[in-house]
Structures are given as C-alpha cells and as structure tokens.
Symmetry: C2
Subunit: 428 residues, 2 copies
C-alpha cells in the first residue's frame, strides 16, 4: 500500500482517483454481439456459447431435472446458511415497503403515490470461478417482495454445460423458474430484446465483467432500465487507535481478493495502527488461495494518515466508497456525518462480509464514486411509483384559476383551455 | 386521428409503436460539444452561445440586478398562482419523506437505511417559446425538501441576452441562486464536468430538445446521474359513455400543442363518444394559437374502440403512457388495475394540466413506454439511500457461521476469514 501522511486537501482529488478504463474499444466489440442477438435470437446465443463458453447447448433453458439434481447436490449446511441469509434479507427489504398515503394538497384535491412492481425483470449472475449465488438472494428476494411477475435469470454454463448447483438451488428456492445458460454481453442483449426462448424484460440487474457492464450501458441508452452503472468493487476502512489491526487487515483483504482492480483505502488518525494493519496484511495475505490477486490489489491501494477526524470524514465523503467500515470508537457518531457511501459497517464487529451475504442489507451497491448520486439496490429498484390525482368540483374551482394563469404565462393555451372548459361547465 | 375498431391483440404492438428517432447522427453532433466544454470550459460555452443563441455574453451567471428586475416584472396574479402551485407541490413531496427505521434482522444485528440529499444537482430549464418556469417548481421544490446543498440552474438566454423573468422569479423564490445563461447540450456538459463559472454536479434533471436529451444520455453513460431517459410527451385518455367530449378533446389538444411529435391516444368502449370527441377536437383546434402544431400531432394520433373494459386496461398497460386520464364512471376501480403509467388523472374533473402545474404531483414523468420500469421525479430522485449495519458480539456469533459457509462456497476465503478472525477473538 502506498502510505500518505496528512495530504493537503488540494491533493485529495488526485489521491482518490480511481483507475479509468478505456471503453471505446470495448463498445465496438460489444455492440456487434448485441446486434447479433437482436437479429438472430437463440441462434446467435448458441453460437456465442460455443465461441465464449466452449459449450454446445441444445437447450438454453435449464431443465427441471437439472434443478432437481442441484437441490440434491447442495450440502445441508449451505442450505441452512442460505435460509438464514434469505430470512434476514427478507426482513430488511420488507421494511422498505411503502404504504399508499393519500394527501389532500388542498380541499378537493387528492394526490397519492403507489409502488407497483416492474412486471418483468432480468437477473444476470456471473459464473466463472466464484459462483455468486449470494447475488441471487440480493436480487431475487426484493423482486419477490415487490411482486415482479416474471423474473428471468441468465448465467453462463461451465464447460460441462452445467450451471453451478448453488446457483440453481438458490434460484429455485426463490421461485425463479426461468433460468437460462447464457452469459456475457449476449445474455444482457437477450433479456433486453427477447429471443425465442428468453423473455424480454424491462429492467436488468446484476454484476458482471466489463463486457456485461458495457452491454448494460448500451441497452440502458436505449431505454431498458439497469440497476446502476458498475465499476470495480471497493472498500474504505476508517480506523483509530481502538481498531484491531488483524480485523482491519482481514477486511481489506476480503475486498482485495475480488480482483486486481479492486480498490482498497485505509484512513486513520493512528500511525501506529496503520503500520500494524500493513504488517497484518502482509501476514494474512500469504495464507489466501487468491494470494496473487489480493497482493496485486493491495499494491495499488493507499493508506492515508490524517490527524483531524473532520478531515477524515471530508475525505471519505469526497471518495464516496461503495463499502465503508468504521472501525473506530465513536462509530455511530461518525456514521451520522457520512453522506456519500453505498453501505456503512459500524464498529469492530461488523465486517463487510456480513453485508455481502447475510445481515439483511443489499450487496449490490454503487462503486466508482457513484454513491454521490446513486443508491444501492433495494426494494425501490424493483418497483416504479405511479402518481394519481383526483379533483372534485371544489378542487378544480379552487385550483383552476392558478393553472389557467400559469399555462397562459407559459404560452400553452390548450393547457389553459382544458381547465377553462371545465370551469365554464361548472358555472352553468 | 386514425380510428381503429376492436384491434386483435396481436396488432397492439404495431398500433402502439412510438416513432423511433435515429440517434446515430445526433450522437456524433453532440459528442464534440461535450468534448469542447470539457476541454475549454467557459470559453467554449461563450462560443456556443454566439453560435446557437446568437448572443455574446460577458458573464454566464445571472446577476443579482437581473433577478431584482425579473421580480418586479412578474405580475402579481402570476406570483399568486406560482405560490399556490408551490405549496401543493411541497405538501405532496414532503409526504414522501422517509423516516429512518432501524430493523433488527436477528438478535444483535441492526440494519437501517437513511435518505441523504444528493449534495450537488443541476437543473436544465429550456428557454425558447414556452418559458417552463413550472419545471423549476417541479425540480426545485423536491431539491429543497431533500436538502441538496448546491442547486445549479442552466437555461438558454433569449436573443437579448436575458432570461425570461418568470424563470428567474421562480428560481429566486426557491432559493436557487446559481443561475447560468447556458442552453443545449453544452449546458448539460458544463454541469457534468464543471467549468470556471459553473459548478460540477452529480445529477442532472430537466427536459430539453433532442440535443439536450442526447447530451444527458452521453454523460449518463459516464456515470453522471440523470433523472430519466426522455422522449416526446404523451397522453392516453380512456373514455366511456359518461365522458364529456368537450373535456376530452381539450385534454387531447393540451398534449398535442407540445409538439408535432407529441403522442395522443384515445381509447374507449363508446363509439358514439369517440366520434363526438373527434368532432370536438376539430372544433377546438381551430381556436388555438399553436393550431398547426396541434393539428400535426393529432394527425399522427390514434383513437381505438375496444368493447371490453379488460382489453382497454391491458392495452393501456402495454402502452405505458406518461399521462393517463381516466374519463370514466368507474375511474377509481379502473385506476387500481393500472400498473404501467407515469401519472394517472381520475374522473371528469381532473385534466392533465392540473398535474402539469399545480395539483402537487410531479410533471417530470417517464415517456416512450419507460413507465414500465421508471418512476417520475419525486423526492426520491434527489436523495440516495445509504444502508447501515452494526453487529454486537451476539450478532456476529449468531450470523458468523452462516457467512463463513456461504463465503467458502463462493470460494472467497478472505471474506470468510474476516468473520473467522472475529469469532476466534471472541472465543478467547
């Protein structure tokens, strides 16, 4: 880690810069994949499957028998863990339900807002080395609570043509039956436009590599909604002298193992503790199966000593981390001052990984500084809110003249007349 | 209007198709504008001002003296109308505030979510023929309730170099002091990247022509948030034999006067009433100052007779209109069945224009079928929701083993170890 002591505020922007990935090339590689799927549907998907996944598939859809097999294969202990995580995620996301509240803005004018499920949603779940069944919980649970009628799941098959059993098990558990063996940019395109086998959806969720991310951006430009823009995962950890260096090092490494582009930031007002954390990182990293990845990520990372707590808070708000761990004595007080972050983990006993899996909060969060304007996934992400209004005779009589005045001033006479014609008829 | 009787369901998609606008060319025209602003800041803005607005500006920022003048110029009657609209919009949007609710998902695990204002937001307000001060209310009021610290407003100057007084008055009323005479794609770029005079913001709101829309899409791709994708404005009106043909015609025309690309759809189960509405449209359109525009929009529009009410509801949900007027006897019952729409106007006395200006609901709504996945602007649009969590010793002891199990199954050992190291320390 690069160690920086009391950087001046003018240097922060530079220090906190995230790596920029050149996307021009990527766009020109992904666009033809999208076009092919749009034009040729399943045929294109099967060809891409041979090309990218080295699998020749007869059926894109996962069969009931494959799901049965998966259910049998997942160990009971994992099933119990998934059940507990599911319960917590359900409890937290259910608390986000909004009741309809009718507001009489003035006599005779009732306005209200209703949350309605997005009827068709698509979930993309990466395959590869780490089978992210936890992401199915994070997306499938709120989709179910919202009441999405059609939930489509795409995930790339392994070279055997099979999908990881934990993925199939978790999807099945949540009542997701439309599971397709399709990965990459082509999966995003398939859900955006629909193919012979894969239903078209209105919003696409889920993480993925740079091809998936670019595909989501491109279809997003055409009006298919996406959960949020994505970048490499990241964590910032704030420490003071009360921090446990071993815990903090483990937290930093849990982020670092995601990929060599993972961002890790350590900030604290205790030089002693910062040094200890670095030593602990060195010790712990050697024991990890993903040692190489973690080492590369850590090498790109920064530890920053700042004397003043206010400066630490300002720096964090400027960085806007996806995950923020507050390993400090006054964690609750400090949390009150954070206004740019995806999810915040308070105190010494709340590692990021509890939120990644099972505490109840969502792990699909804004990276890359997007936390300045974006929220993480929540129940809100699976609904849209429709507004309603109804005026009585009293209502339009009270409000009508103001609307006429404003419409006239905006030179929209037909807008005015839609009110006038009603007011006139009420006079007679 | 094109009159269609009982179309078969297979034909609906074709009938409900919105015009597609070719964007390739547009992108290549807008991208250089964005680049120029990014590179040259104010200098580029002033050059574009000469080129596009035919105005040479010394200062981009509107001066206090100009605001004073505007306040004096706006008639008292319009000020009163704006005050009433503001009050209703405030009342409705304030009701959208969310209290923090701490959820104990299981013993020792507390999770909560806090709405925090997006600290810097930008509002784009078109100039041109119709000075849309109403849009300032629709964006500025929720921004103020949310507590956005910096609100920047860009609007193009007229040829005199001045901004419409109603726009300045309304902005001033809402406490928006950073007002800049910049329009078009260049305004969007200026707020996205910042210039010498114009502060950079994290999210950009507001309607605009196709250049503005494309600029928002392009900066959106780079992670600057935008309110929603945009398309031409549209209304669908559902009628039965209880509808007043004159009212309905006025509603259709209030949409049609927006532009020749405005979408108008009339659906009903009374042929008699449909015919009457068409006759009324013919009569009323002749009296409008924007007659030509309205005629062109109406010529592109459709009226559809469907016998069955269920079919009408299905058709509306497939179309997903931005505005939906239910001019029917059973409006409340029908509203319950609508799941794809931006804003719904119930009954015979609720014209769309009340929602455009003053009932309290927001008029920034999803067009182009985006209502299938997007909500209109609300208080939510000006906040992001940060999640928090804190575990006690009991909490991590209860939950830790499940997290270890899941992390192990996802082959993320460092994630597991961040829990294990804490569990081990609690044993000793």
């Amino acid at each position: 880690m690069q160690y920086i002591v009391n950087p001046a505020r003018e240097e922060w922007a530079e220090i906190l810069k995230r790596p920029v990935f050149e996307q021009k090339d990527l766009e020109s590689r992904v666009q033809p994949i999208i076009e092919a799927v749009k034009q040729e549907g399943d045929k294109a998907l099967k060809e891409f499957s041979i090309k990218f996944d080295q699998v020749e598939l007869e059926d894109l859809r996962v069969k009931a028998s494959e799901i049965e097999e998966a259910i049998a294969e997942v160990p009971e202990s994992l099933k119990r863990a998934i059940a507990l995580a599911r319960k917590n995620i359900e409890t937290f996301h259910r608390s986000q339900k909004e009741e309809i509240q009718i507001v009489e803005t003035q006599p005779g004018i009732r306005c209200w807002r209703k949350s309605v499920a997005i009827s068709k949603v698509g979930l993309y779940i990466p395959g590869g080395t780490a089978p992210l069944f936890s992401t199915i919980l994070m997306l499938g649970v709120p989709a179910a609570i919202a009441g999405c009628k059609e939930v489509v799941l795409c995930t790339p098959p392994g070279k055997s043509g099979k999908v990881n059993p934990a993925i199939l098990y978790t999807a099945h558990l949540l009542g997701i039956h439309s599971i397709f063996k399709v990965g990459g940019a082509q999966a995003v395109a398939a859900m955006a436009y629909g193919t012979e086998s894969i239903p078209q959806v209105y919003k696409i969720f889920g993480p993925g590599n740079q091809y998936v991310t670019m595909a989501k951006q491109l279809i997003g430009k055409e009006g298919v909604a996406i959960d949020m823009p994505a970048g490499p995962s990241e964590v910032a950890v704030v420490i003071d002298e009360s921090a446990n260096a071993g815990f903090v090092a483990a937290d930093l490494l849990s982020q670092a193992e995601h990929g060599i582009d993972s961002q890790v930031l350590l900030v604290g007002n205790s030089k002693e503790r910062i040094v200890e954390v670095e030593q602990e990182v060195e010790k712990q990293v050697a024991e990890l199966p993903r040692e190489e990845i973690a080492r590369a990520a850590i090498a790109n990372s920064k530890s920053i000593y700042l004397e003043e707590e206010d400066a630490i808070i300002d720096l964090i708000n400027e960085y806007a981390p996806e995950h923020l761990i507050l390993s400090v004595k006054n964690d609750e007080e400090m949390a009150e001052k954070i206004f740019n972050a995806g999810s915040v983990f308070l105190g010494h006993l709340t590692p990021e990984s509890v939120g990644d899996y099972a505490s109840g909060t969502n792990h699909t969060l804004p990276t890359n500084g997007f936390a300045k304007a974006y929220s993480g996934v929540s129940l809100d992400s699976f609904v849209k809110k429709i507004t309603f209004q109804k005026l009585t005779e009293e209502g339009i009589k009270n409000l009508g003249p103001a609307v006429e005045e404003m419409a006239e001033a905006e030179e929209l006479v037909a807008h005015k007349r839609a009110v006038s014609i009603r007011l006139e008829s009420l006079k007679s």
